[in-house]
């Protein structure tokens, strides 16, 4: 099967750049899988795991992201994440901190739409906590 080019960047650095077979991303409307020659799409992300399969027969590399965007066009996948933690380094405390900071933001904001968005994020992180 063909491969696609993945660039995974955070504001601080280029995290991952390689040819991969398959990537699973936590889109804000639901998790979806991207294979080579996927149709052009721009999607925002919700908190969740990015699973990168360099080779389908091997274990994926997994990163946790809080939010960001994916942009897929002409077999070039770009993941823009504000922050990313490798799953092996992710602790329950990390998740707790994230929930707390979102909660704090949600409590402070008057804007209903923003509050809803933050609540969705909190739910997503809590789901991950339950899983772990």
């Amino acid at each position: 099967m063909g491969k696609l080019r993945l660039d995974f960047v955070t504001p601080e650095r280029l995290l991952y750049s390689n040819d991969v077979e398959q990537v699973i991303v936590p889109g804000s409307e639901g998790e979806f899988t991207i294979l080579s020659d996927h149709s052009p799409i721009i999607s925002s992300l919700k908190p969740g795991y990015i699973k990168i399969y360099e080779d389908l027969s091997n274990e994926p590399t997994i990163y946790f992201v809080t939010d960001g965007f994916v942009d897929m066009a002409s077999n070039q996948l770009t993941i823009l994440a504000q922050s990313a933690i490798e799953k092996s380094q992710l602790t329950t405390k990390n998740l707790e901190d994230i929930v707390n900071s979102y909660q704090g933001e949600a409590d402070n904001t008057e804007n209903e739409a923003k509050k809803n968005k933050l609540n969705l994020k909190i739910d997503a992180v809590k789901a991950l906590q339950a899983e772990a």
Binding site: S43, S44, F69
Partner: protein, 297 residues
């Protein structure tokens, strides 16, 4: 004739100064390396996001309901100038160059009858601008405690700006910082943040990107993506500006301290020469006294 002790003292103090400036130069060099590295590693993200933005922009320009952050609110009465400078001095003309550019802009804007508000990032710029335009400064952010600038610092500033915009405090926002050309050359630079400047420079790629846009899927809705992406883009631009500024500051300090070390070296040479001459003069004088005393007997 200056006395020997005084000369010696001066020599010692200049030497001590030289030691300090040399140490500062080395520290600045090390920090410059780090700052350049982080500026470098932020570049992929910035370039990626600008590609995504460009894709989005060209697909949205027809619709009239484009977000205000992008197209502005149609007015340009009040300007917000975000001025990024250093928190520390002793870095040559770095801070005053930025402030000079800003002051020029302020005067020009006032001449045009615009309102000007200022957010100062960095203590030195705040101190300089406060002298003549204190009433215009609406906020002051110090990054003194921050060792190396993280994205979250820029995010806080970006969110601050966006919140003020949504509050209707200003119509146009510009960021001032020093862009890093090389160790000896840092150029003060103005960048418009709101509304988003649409540059037509890369006309060459246009047909290429256009064709891929037509079939983009958006998830969730295009306007929702836009709403999230615009503040993010702004934060990234602030982040990049701050990183460049940090690199420029260290570069500027390094060359300033290099100059200072060299000047101190020259001064030490002069003082040593003067000290030796004076010492010889004193010896000669003493000899003459002894000889003429002996002759008198």
């Amino acid at each position: 004739m200056p006395n020997l002790k005084e000369l010696k003292n001066r020599q010692v103090s200049v030497k001590a100064t030289q030691k300090i400036t040399r140490a500062m130069q080395m520290v600045a060099a090390a920090k410059l390396n780090k700052a350049q590295e982080s500026a470098q590693s932020a570049r992929p993200y910035a370039s990626k996001i600008s590609t995504v933005m460009a894709n989005l922009l060209s697909s949205i320009d027809s619709s009239s309901n484009a977000p205000e952050l992008m197209v502005g609110n149609g007015k340009s009465d009040t300007y917000l100038l975000a001025v990024a400078t250093a928190d520390r001095g002793l870095c040559g003309a770095f801070n005053s160059n930025i402030v000079k550019l800003v002051t020029q802009e302020i005067n020009e804007l006032i001449k045009q009858g615009k309102q000007v508000k200022i957010i100062c990032i960095g203590k030195k710029g705040y101190d300089l601008i406060r002298r003549s335009h204190e009433e215009k400064i609406i906020d002051f952010i110090s990054l003194k405690e921050v060792k190396s600038i993280a994205y979250s610092d820029a995010e806080a500033i970006g969110n601050n700006i966006v919140a003020r915009y949504e509050d209707g405090q200003f119509d146009v926002c510009k960021l001032y910082y020093s862009s890093f050309k090389s160790v000896i050359s840092q150029i003060p630079h103005a960048q418009q943040l709101i509304p988003l400047p649409i540059d037509n420079e890369d006309d060459g790629d246009e047909p290429d990107t256009k064709s891929s846009i037509a079939i983009y899927d958006y998830e969730p809705e295009e306007s929702d993506v836009m709403e999230d992406l615009l503040p993010l883009n702004l934060n990234i631009q602030v982040f990049q500006g701050l990183l460049e500024n940090a690199a420029s500051e260290q570069g500027s300090r390094m060359s300033a301290m290099d100059n200072a070390t060299r000047n101190a070296g020259e001064m030490i040479n002069k003082l040593t020469l003067q000290y030796n001459r004076t010492r010889q003069a004193i010896i000669t004088k003493e000899l003459i006294e002894i000889i003429s005393g002996a002759e008198a007997l």
